[in-house]
């Protein structure tokens, strides 16, 4: 098989557990088909959306949206691949990105769509067939362009709602459309997108079926006071949407039946007939078997994607907990063999590559009453991931003191495959983060609920079926804040003042005055961030309510409100920090060299930074040699911890517009590169426009004392107050996994990491040589999966600077 060429470089450890089952031929074929399928884009859904939006102009938005969804349910093209046992997909076919209204302006401008939605795709107008191009230009785009400023799209509506002073801070040129962000002020959703980032009430879907939930909506509607018009239209919309899903299930059943009729192979014919029977039943009605349960939650997720295209991080959550009863019942009554169960699970995991990105399955952790939650399904999920070795879903192992060694060793075996899976999360920190939400201004979370939190996307913890987190409060550039504190508020990249006047740094009497300036710049920026995000949140609520998805989140039905409008029990927004290590390292360098040792004057420092160190080699050498975060040096670590804490505190002061609050997060994804492009030279010795440190990880190449020293530095950061999580990237030499003894030591490393109160660690277990070879011969390494910044991606599809960034990450040897 062609794709296994790179895998040959990686020693696949033989499994240490006799009960681990090998991947079946079917799974290998499905995997290969997935890898061979090109990523495309389509206007099929947008065509439906445009037609219905035109027809329903003037109706309440929730109803219009429900009608769009209903039409998508009955018209969206569907596909069933050979070999599939679980069926469904976002878009009109697997790996096809739906074009959304906001894309029209981009395409018409001659730009290409780039999105992680279906891994990496670059798709321009010319890539569509001529009829579609014509339709897009003549029929579809004019509707969304409206009066000329695209005000029917989210991007246009956002811009219209923004006051000029915010536009000035946010954009390089507010007159451009879509405008280019400054990369210093970067609240999200400037250019389309939606909440995503959630785990719907899947257990309830399994138990009641979508039609059971529809009955709840009907009951609520019947009891509603007649003058509550807003609730009435939302609930009517939810009713309509839930009704439409039954039709969608039947369409999959019909398709399967039709394929069965044509099928010559007896076994496949039976499989297709079974698929038909299952799709006839679920997710409309309660699931009775493991197979039905998997298909039910998967189709429900597909429908969420159909309602809101191009979203991230919708997640099935802790399936090892809520699917276990179905598996056990089937095994007990002999309806399913363990081998068949593993195969079904493998099929399901492959299918998670055909819906939104950022799917995240978690295994292990705590039960609601604080016991170890590990079970046979936890191990089977890790096994499935070994079988499929694809970028998705993301998998995390929730580690607690009660986690059995077997789970950790199974996880280490998966790590050893070098796919960047799984991510390791600290179950105790996760629980504390949930409890801390209450103390940081959010609605209190009970202990039992806190223990059942599930990671979505990279690892953002949410409460399944109860949360509506708006994960787009923006990327907050903590390194830029440092620059502003040393320039009296002026940006070197944009050559204008964007922060308050905190004084000429040459006049700072001591280090504390510098930190006060840092704090003042940060507070100012945060306030304006928040103001912009308030506006985007309201625009989303008005323009893009989700009657279907909202009915799968608790209290939306009871309150008669969408998740976008504050219907969910828990509401919050995240603000994502970036460059905390750069800021910490810079503060540490200024403290040591300018104020303590006085080896560099503030004047020289400012000139050196202005000149990007040209002519200041000696100063730069001193700055580079100053203590850096990630080496267990208190001098540096305490400054990074101070920045992290200040950021967390300032975020927690902000409220959202839905009765919730703001929560801090340390997962800037690939923004660490873009954010770097906007920041000049820093006192850490980093040169102008270079990438920032990846998330809360040490700056590339600055961690020279090994992984335990990084963890020790990381342990000084208060992970629990970063309530939406924080990323730590490590790269290990694959050598450690070549022996059983190495596996055991790796498991011990994981336990010690959890002992330190660190939230998350993600690993790339690929040697530098392999990455270099993959850069040179990408065609041979198409299935090389790496962790970039909390998410997994195919290495060869990453842009060159990101590839280089991964290679530069210090590799921890033995």
């Amino acid at each position: 098989m062609e794709d296994t060429q790179h895998s040959a470089h990686i020693s696949h450890p033989t499994s240490m557990d006799a009960d681990a089952l090998p991947a079946r031929e079917r799974i290998l074929r499905l995997r290969q088909r997935h890898l061979d399928t090109p990523c495309t884009a389509s206007i099929d859904r947008l065509r439906i959306e445009t037609r219905i939006m035109k027809q329903t102009e003037g109706e309440p938005m929730a109803l219009s949206r429900a009608k769009v969804f209903a039409a998508v349910c009955s018209e969206m093209p569907i596909d069933i691949w050979p070999d599939e046992l679980i069926v469904g997909h976002a878009g009109p076919r697997p790996l096809c990105r739906d074009v959304i209204p906001d894309d029209c302006a981009v395409l018409l401008k001659g730009q290409r769509l780039a999105s992680l939605m279906v891994d990496t795709i670059e798709y321009g107008l010319a890539d569509f067939d001529p009829a579609c191009q014509k339709e897009l230009i003549e029929d579809i785009a004019p509707y969304w362009r409206g009066g000329g400023r695209w005000e029917k799209t989210q991007t246009g509506a956002n811009l219209q709602a923004l006051p000029d002073y915010l536009k000035d801070l946010l954009f390089l040129d507010a007159g451009d459309f879509p405008p280019k962000q400054s990369m210093i002020y970067t609240p999200f959703f400037i250019s389309g997108g939606h909440y995503g980032h959630n785990a719907a009430a899947y257990p309830e879907i399994l138990e009641k079926g979508l039609q059971g939930i529809r009955r709840d909506v009907a009951d609520k509607l019947a009891a509603l006071s007649p003058d509550d018009a807003a609730a009435k239209s939302f609930l009517e919309a939810a009713f309509l949407a839930l009704t439409a899903t039954e039709n969608a299930g039947r369409r999959f059943a019909g398709r399967a039946r039709k394929l069965a009729a044509q099928e010559q192979n007896r076994q496949r014919k039976d499989e297709l007939e079974k698929i038909a029977a299952i799709c006839e039943r679920v997710p409309a009605h309660p699931a009775r078997t493991f197979h039905e349960a998997l298909q039910s939650i998967f189709l429900a997720q597909v429908f969420i994607n159909w309602e809101t295209p191009n979203i991230f991080s919708q997640t099935a959550g802790r399936i090892d907990q809520y699917l276990l009863p179905y598996l056990e019942a089937d095994l007990t009554r002999g309806a399913l063999t363990p081998e068949d169960a593993q195969e079904l699970l493998d099929c399901y995991l492959i299918k998670l590559n055909h819906v939104n990105r950022g799917n995240h399955l978690a295994v292990g952790g705590y039960t609601a009453c604080g016991r170890d939650a590990t079970n046979m399904l936890s191990c089977m999920i890790l096994e499935s991931m070994k079988h499929i070795r694809l970028a998705h879903p993301f998998i995390s192992v929730l580690i607690s003191p009660r986690t059995p060694q077997k789970l950790l060793v199974r996880a280490a075996e998966l790590s050893a495959l070098g796919t960047g899976h799984p991510v390791y999360l600290n179950a105790d920190v996760l629980t504390t983060q949930m409890l801390a939400r209450g103390s940081a201004g959010g609605a209190p979370v009970t202990l039992a609920l806190a223990r059942t939190a599930t990671p979505v996307g990279c690892y953002e913890p949410v409460l399944m079926g109860l949360d509506s987190g708006y994960f787009y409060g923006g990327y907050f550039n903590l390194a830029a804040v440092c620059e502003l504190a040393l320039t009296n508020g002026a940006s070197r990249r944009y050559k204008k003042r964007i922060g308050p006047e905190t004084g000429d740094p040459r006049a700072f009497a001591d280090f504390e005055e510098f930190r006060s300036a840092y704090k003042a710049q940060l507070s100012f920026m945060m306030k304006h961030f928040s103001a912009a995000t308030d506006i985007f949140e309201r625009v989303t609520a008005d323009l893009l309510p989700t009657p279907f998805e909202s009915s799968l989140i608790k209290d939306c039905i009871a309150r008669g409100k969408s998740r976008e409008d504050g219907g969910a029990r828990f509401n919050f927004r995240t603000v994502i920090g970036a460059g905390s290590s750069d800021a910490g390292d810079s503060l540490a360098a200024v403290r040591k060299l300018v104020f303590e040792e006085k080896k560099i004057s503030m004047d020289d420092l400012c000139r050196a930074l202005d000149a990007d160190f040209a002519g200041y080699d000696d100063q730069r050498r001193l700055l580079c040699a100053a203590p850096k975060f990630g080496n267990d040096s208190d001098e540096a670590d305490e400054q990074a911890a101070w920045v992290s804490h200040l950021f967390a505190e300032e975020v927690a002061r902000q409220k959202d517009t839905r009765g919730g609050h703001a929560v801090p997060m340390g997962a800037p994804l690939q923004y660490y590169m873009f954010g770097g492009w906007a920041v000049g030279a820093l006192p850490s010795g980093r040169k102008a426009w270079q990438p920032l440190a990846d998330a809360w990880s040490p700056s590339a190449g600055c961690d020279v004392r090994g992984p335990t020293a990084i963890l020790a530095s990381m342990a000084k950061i208060d992970a629990a107050e970063l309530t939406a999580g924080v990323t730590l990237n490590l790269r290990f030499d694959p050598e450690i996994f070549r022996s059983r003894d190495g596996m055991t030591r790796f498991a011990a490393f994981l336990r010690a990491f959890a002992d330190q109160g660190i939230f998350q660690v993600q690993l790339n277990i690929i040697d530098t040589e392999t990455l270099r070879r993959a850069q040179k011969e990408p065609e041979k390494y198409r299935d090389l999966v790496v962790k970039v910044a909390g998410y997994s991606a195919y290495f060869t599809q990453l842009i060159k600077p990101l590839q280089d960034g991964l290679i530069a990450r210090t590799q921890h040897k033995l």
């Binding site: 040699a625 090994g706 992984p707 335990t708 020790a712 010690a752």
Partner: protein, 305 residues
Amino acid sequence: MNDLRGIIYGIERFSLHDGPGIRTLVITKGCPLSCRWCSSPYTQSPKPEVLYRQSDCTGCAACAAVCKNRAITFDKASASVKTDRTLCSGCGECVAACAQAARELAGRYYTPEALLREVEKDEAFYRRSGGGVTVGGGEPTLQAAFVAGFLDLCRENHFHTAMETCAFAPWERFAPLLEKLDLVYIDLKHMDDKTHRAWTGASNRRILDNLQRAARQNDVIVRIPVIPGFNDSVDNISESAKFVKSLGNHVARLELLPYHLFGIHRYAELERGYALSSIPPLSDEQMANLRDRARTAGIAVEIGG
């Protein structure tokens, strides 16, 4: 406490080749042997030494200007500097003066307490992995009093302790350390005294004797660095294995360490030549063959460490 000090080349955290679990390896500086294949020449001298990377040097001669001992001379032709090692006191002034970081000071003095502060940083990892602290080198027994003081502190903190030694030390100096160790790695370089002298500069009698005595009281792992042309003959390996067998049950196993070239660039940094530079390492098959021969003595034998 007292002013006991030891010279340490480096501290390696997350070391996985020097004993059970996750360990911190303390690399002492100074060795009584001068093995021709030595892969860590910067640990031979018991004094601080300046390492010099010519590739990073711009020939600015700032180092020569600050040298109080006039040990550094500037060579115009190659636009680089030379250090007369007999004049160098290892004060490190030239390292601080180098804007290119082309010079590095190898060797730092620690008190046992200061060293403990470094190794206790990874206690969480020792506890979880059954790991601990390994003192290697260099040769720890050259600084026996300092190492003993440090090992006492480790034991007070309940860290597992191991030592890697060439065992070339008077028994009176060696024995007190053994009492403080949970595990000892002892190198066995050659069974023949004449060959041993020729390649290491010292007799093997004391080593063999110390090995026998240590194995009566300590858990020991014997290591043979397998050097092509020196000790890789089947005869020598077989004889070594028989000797290890004779040591009794305290010896957990014999480890054959393949010869490698990872350290040779360090010779250049010390402005020295390397005696074995043209010798290729043994193949995996050759190593496996030696391992299998050694196993016929009836002992556990592994490759690597």
